[in-house]
């Protein structure tokens, strides 16, 4: 088995949004929508502010509430790597999964189905990195298998402090941020 995950180094990310536009073109994301996005969070106060920049997307959770609530099984965990996907052909567009996601990572595609980040499973299946990871000019994004202790992502999570988003929501997010 494998547990695919993304590890993003906020120390390197400059928030250029290359990941966002690469996703848009790679996945034909319709204009006006995005599967990933940039968040800038400022803490502290002038003259000693702190800035964390994050490239955010579906967290491909271990316990994805969007999968549990789906009435047709369209929202599902892929047999490989725990990637959370939406089968466009099964989706009825009830939007329950959108409401169920604490990260607001999903949206209704103009074609009717619900849409979101797929970890570029179509690329991963061919041995390529997700589009966002492959374009990042700062090399701040890492992708790999957390079940493999020797993978890039496993090593980074062992060696660096990190956090994930809304851990208290109990979803087990698998996009991790190095700090």
């Amino acid at each position: 088995m494998a547990r695919l995950a993304m590890v993003i180094d906020t120390k390197l990310c400059v928030g250029c949004a290359d990941c966002v536009v690469a996703c848009t073109t790679e996945n034909d994301v319709p204009l006006g929508f995005c599967r990933d996005w940039i968040v800038e969070q400022v803490g502290g106060a002038y003259p000693t502010p702190l800035l964390e920049i994050r490239s955010e997307r579906c967290n491909h959770c271990d316990s994805p509430p969007c999968v549990g609530c789906c009435p047709t099984g369209a929202s599902h965990m892929h047999s490989y790597g725990g990637v959370v996907l939406v089968d466009h052909n099964k989706c009825i567009g009830c939007k329950a999964c959108i409401a169920a996601c604490p990260y607001d990572a999903r949206y209704t595609h103009p074609d009717g189905h619900v849409d979101k980040c797929t970890f570029c499973i179509h690329r991963v299946e061919k041995g390529q990195l997700p589009a966002c990871v492959s374009v990042c000019p700062t090399h701040c994004m890492h992708f790999g298998d957390l079940d493999d202790p020797e993978s890039d992502v496993s090593k980074l999570l062992r060696s660096r402090p990190h956090h994930a988003l809304l851990p208290a929501a109990g979803t087990g997010p698998q996009v991790h941020y190095l700090t």
Binding site: V20, H113, A169
Partner: protein, 336 residues
């Protein structure tokens, strides 16, 4: 507070979630209403036993079929991928309230139809042939008391399941702190009961059916005048805790739950307590939808004011506003 900026701007998601408009509140309202009708009908079918002609408002099940179909139409209108709707019935997803709901809806229809057949109308403007056929089925059923009992039980159980489901549908969303409470199940159930009773009351007045009026009043607040005094007294005792009072109590418990919950729940409660949905909730639901009808009913009962249909109308409006406010405010409540 931290400065927070995002490049995300997905329609329906940002800046505030708005994936469900009027359709889902209409569906939840009608679903609850029909659930109430089923429970009341089921109860009376069971209570009447072999004297089914004494069942109070006999058209409730047929009305339920129509209203439920309207509700499901609203639900269908909300679907973004309408042509795929049949996918609901290729699977049963045990963790999905919506899957439960779609199957419950499928089971509710035969129960409602059976109850409707049990009490066919005396005359119809057209389709007399069909009516005659239904009458034959009805006679066949009346000859079988166990079947009648089963129909009653099915309506009672189906109504409870449907009523609770409409609440759990929202209550199961952990990502929306305002909704995330199982108490929404009973809340919507009792709200459904109160609206069902109000509707029947209303229809009884409109159709001037004496027996119906009695039944409706009983159901509405477990209260109040009319009919022969004995009957009224009897009902007073049984409906000691009226639907509306229970609904009010549940609303209170729900708010207590939110206010004593975690930060995100407290923040969610803020939407109703000083936030953008405060007026709708307190004015539309608590005051106009529950409090005022209770007071009016009490005054009518004690003979201080004349009996009117105003409380029933208020309860129906309140029931819809409850769903509308909850669906809207719940979407605005979030974790991050």
């Amino acid at each position: 507070m931290d400065e927070f900026t995002t490049t995300r701007h997905n329609p329906g998601i940002d800046p505030h979630m708005h994936i469900w408009g009027w359709e889902i509140p209409v569906y939840l309202f009608l679903g609850g209403l029909v659930a109430g009708l089923m429970i009341l009908a089921g109860y009376h079918i069971l209570k009447a036993r072999d004297r089914q002609e004494r069942v109070s408002y006999p058209y409730a099940p047929m009305l339920g079929v129509i209203l439920l179909s309207l509700g499901m139409n609203a639900l269908f209108l909300d679907l973004a991928n309408k042509l795929h709707v049949w996918r609901l019935y290729l699977t049963f997803e045990i963790t999905s309230p919506m899957s439960w709901g779609s199957w419950i809806l499928l089971l509710v229809y035969p129960a409602l139809l059976a109850a409707a057949v049990l009490h066919p109308p005396e005359r119809v403007p057209f389709g007399q042939g069909l009516l005659n056929m239904v009458r034959r089925w009805s006679a066949w059923m009346h000859a079988r008391p166990r079947l009648i009992q089963a129909v009653g039980l099915a309506n009672l159980a189906g109504g409870i399941a449907l009523g609770i489901y409409t609440g759990i549908l929202l209550g199961a969303f952990g990502a929306r702190p305002l909704w995330n409470s199982a108490i929404l199940g009973p809340l919507f159930l009792f709200s459904g009961l109160s609206t069902a009773a109000a509707l029947m009351h209303l229809l009884a007045v409109v159709t001037r059916s004496g027996s119906g009026l009695a039944f409706a009043d009983v159901a509405l607040a477990g209260v109040f005048r009319l009919m022969d005094p004995d009957h009224c007294k009897h009902i007073m005792v049984r409906a000691d805790a009226s639907f509306l009072t229970i609904e009010l109590a549940i609303l209170g418990l729900w708010l207590i739950g939110l206010l004593t919950g975690t930060g995100v729940q407290q923040e969610a409660a803020g939407l109703l307590l000083g936030g953008p949905y405060t007026a709708g909730f307190w004015g539309g639901v608590i005051l106009a939808g529950v409090g005022l009808p209770l007071v009016l009913q009490y005054l009518e009962l004690s003979g201080r004011i004349r009996h009117t249909v105003i409380p029933a109308i208020l309860v129906l409006i309140g029931g819809f506003v409850l769903r509308l406010v909850l669906v809207s405010a719940g979407q605005a409540s979030h974790w991050s």
